[in-house]
């Protein structure tokens, strides 16, 4: 138990130390010290306006996660079952995904307007394809002998899907979902930074324009903590299934 905690604690301490050193090296005003940042964080967490912005982001993030998870798994299963379709789709998806999506954001804004739906769409653009690819590949790589065994044990195709295919692909789907969740958050935040009047992403850009570095760092830190927590939760979920 101690050893599990020791590692992360050491990493955090080293990070703080490096931060402090950087703060001392860089001109004072442009990189606030850890202490100043934590003080600012305390102020923010007591500020109702911060929570209003956070709620905006959380809403867009939640919808984007749900839609890209459901959509990504459904699309991945579909493409994985139709082998040929999967083989055609894979390079297209990979190329599509490697496009710098920010350049497409004006198009998204044109379609969805300045509201929350544009940010949701942008989150989905980031999160959907990785999960689709993970799910599809998990199905394509499924050992044929699993399905053959299911057939000789007299399982119906529905039972095979539920009892064999699903548990067999689950580890990769969860990995894909973990990636998808982080990327959704990224997409939503970028969306807010570029074109929005609310949300945490907007808060960061706005603070940056004011030169308010402690706020920028404090918000970034809070977002990072939430992202890490979400990732840790999914990781724990993944581990809990393992023997």
């Amino acid at each position: 138990m101690m050893r599990h905690i020791l590692g992360p604690v050491l990493v955090i301490l080293c990070g703080l130390l490096a931060w402090e050193v950087l703060h001392l090296l860089v001109a004072n005003s442009s990189l606030p010290s850890p202490l100043a940042t934590f003080v600012e964080m305390g102020v923010l967490l007591r500020d109702p306006d911060f929570w209003k912005q956070a709620a905006q982001t959380a809403q867009a993030f939640a919808v984007a996660v749900v839609l890209s998870t459901v959509g990504g798994i459904a699309l991945g299963v579909l493409l994985g079952m139709k082998r040929l379709a999967g083989q055609v789709a894979e390079p297209i998806l990979v190329n599509l995904y490697s496009l710098p999506k920010v350049t497409l954001y004006p198009v998204v804004l044109l379609i969805f307007g300045l509201g929350i739906s544009a940010r949701i769409a942008f989150g989905i653009m980031h999160g959907l394809i990785p999960l689709t690819l993970f799910t599809m590949n998990a199905i394509l790589q499924l050992k044929p002998v699993y399905r053959r065994s299911a057939a000789v044990m007299g399982l119906t195709s529905w039972q095979t899907a539920l009892r064999v295919v699903l548990p067999a692909i689950l580890p990769q789907v969860i990995t894909g979902a973990r990636l998808g969740v982080s990327l959704c958050l990224l997409g939503v935040l970028i969306g807010e930074m570029f074109a929005a009047r609310n949300g945490l992403g907007y808060m960061v850009t706005h603070a940056m324009e004011r030169g308010d570095m402690p706020t920028v760092l404090a918000v970034a830190l809070i977002i990072a903590a939430v992202a890490l927590a979400a990732n840790g939760l999914l990781l724990a979920l993944d581990r809990s299934r393992q023997p």
Binding site: K143, V145, S149, V152, M153, G154, P167, R241, P243
Partner: protein
């Protein structure tokens, strides 16, 4: 000597057959002559309760033959029947053990073994009884709660055999089940297989590339030609029913193995030269 020039031996026993193939041919891909002619035409009768092994060079259609009997693949031509009924899907009463590790890594050993039974409508008490018996029979009791990842390849194959055993199959098909195991483990697994065969009085069809395994375990051994696979010889071993791996020291074991090799040498050479 080409496969066509060999006199094909029909492996036919009209009296008491359990499974029967007549003119079974399998061609993969287009039938206009460009497809892969994998098997046949093959005639084969498996007698009820016998231990029949098939040996042949790799790629000669042994797995294809097994798939036809298991109802996993349908012949391009010819007929296949099990217990007098044509095989139109996986027949009830047929169990299969594959070469690859087919144990499910997300289930414990006992859940793996119970897997098929739980989907077949057998009641809980009966499932528990059969699983317990199969675990004991295969020496897996101590590993009931373990997961496949914690077991050796040999133990995992035992799990797969136990999983087949609990379904109480009347015909057990095994496709090179010990192919991935070392020699000593293979001999011991062979003994277990003989024990299982005697205990269940099932008919066993074992596909193997190990001639000694075929000579030691079987009542009859069918020798297949290079692709397209045909039976070019059938050997009666004449072993008593209660045999085990110690018969390897019997002089006839050497004779049988030598005979099988003589039949197979030319065919294996063909495969090696890639014809």
């Amino acid at each position: 000597m080409s496969a066509a020039a060999l006199a094909q031996v029909p492996v036919v026993a009209p009296d008491d057959h359990h499974a029967r193939l007549r003119g079974v041919t399998r061609i993969f891909g287009p039938r206009n002559g460009t497809g892969v002619h994998a098997l046949g035409p093959v005639d084969l009768d498996l007698r009820r309760g016998e231990f029949f092994s098939v040996v042949g060079p790799s790629g000669c259609g042994k797995s294809t033959l097994l798939d036809v009997l298991a109802g996993l693949s349908f012949p391009t031509a010819g007929t296949a029947e099990f217990e007098g009924k044509p095989i139109t899907g996986v027949p009830a009463g047929v169990g299969v053990v594959f070469q690859e590790d087919a144990s499910f890594p997300w289930l414990s050993v006992e859940d793996n073994v119970a897997f098929g039974l739980r989907r077949s409508g057998v009641d809980g008490a009966e499932i528990a009884r059969r699983v317990d018996y199969a675990l004991g029979f295969m020496g897996l009791k101590a590993f009931a709660k373990a997961y496949p990842a914690q077991l050796s390849g040999g133990m995992r194959q035992r799990v797969c055999i136990a999983r087949t055993l609990v379904m109480q199959p009347r015909l057990i098909l095994l496709d090179e089940p010990f192919g991935a195991l070392d020699q000593q483990t293979r001999l011991l697994m062979g003994d277990e297989l003989l024990r299982l065969w005697r205990e269940t009085s099932a008919t066993v069809l074992l596909i193997t590339h190990a001639l000694d395994e075929a000579a030691m375990l079987s009542d009859r051994v069918g020798v297949m030609s290079a692709r397209p696979g045909l039976f070019i010889d059938v050997l009666d071993t004449g072993w008593p029913r209660d045999r085990d791996s110690r018969i390897v020291s019997h002089p006839r074991f050497g004779e049988l193995t030598a005979h099988l090799w003589e039949k197979l040498r030319a065919e294996s050479l063909k495969h090696l030269r890639g014809s």
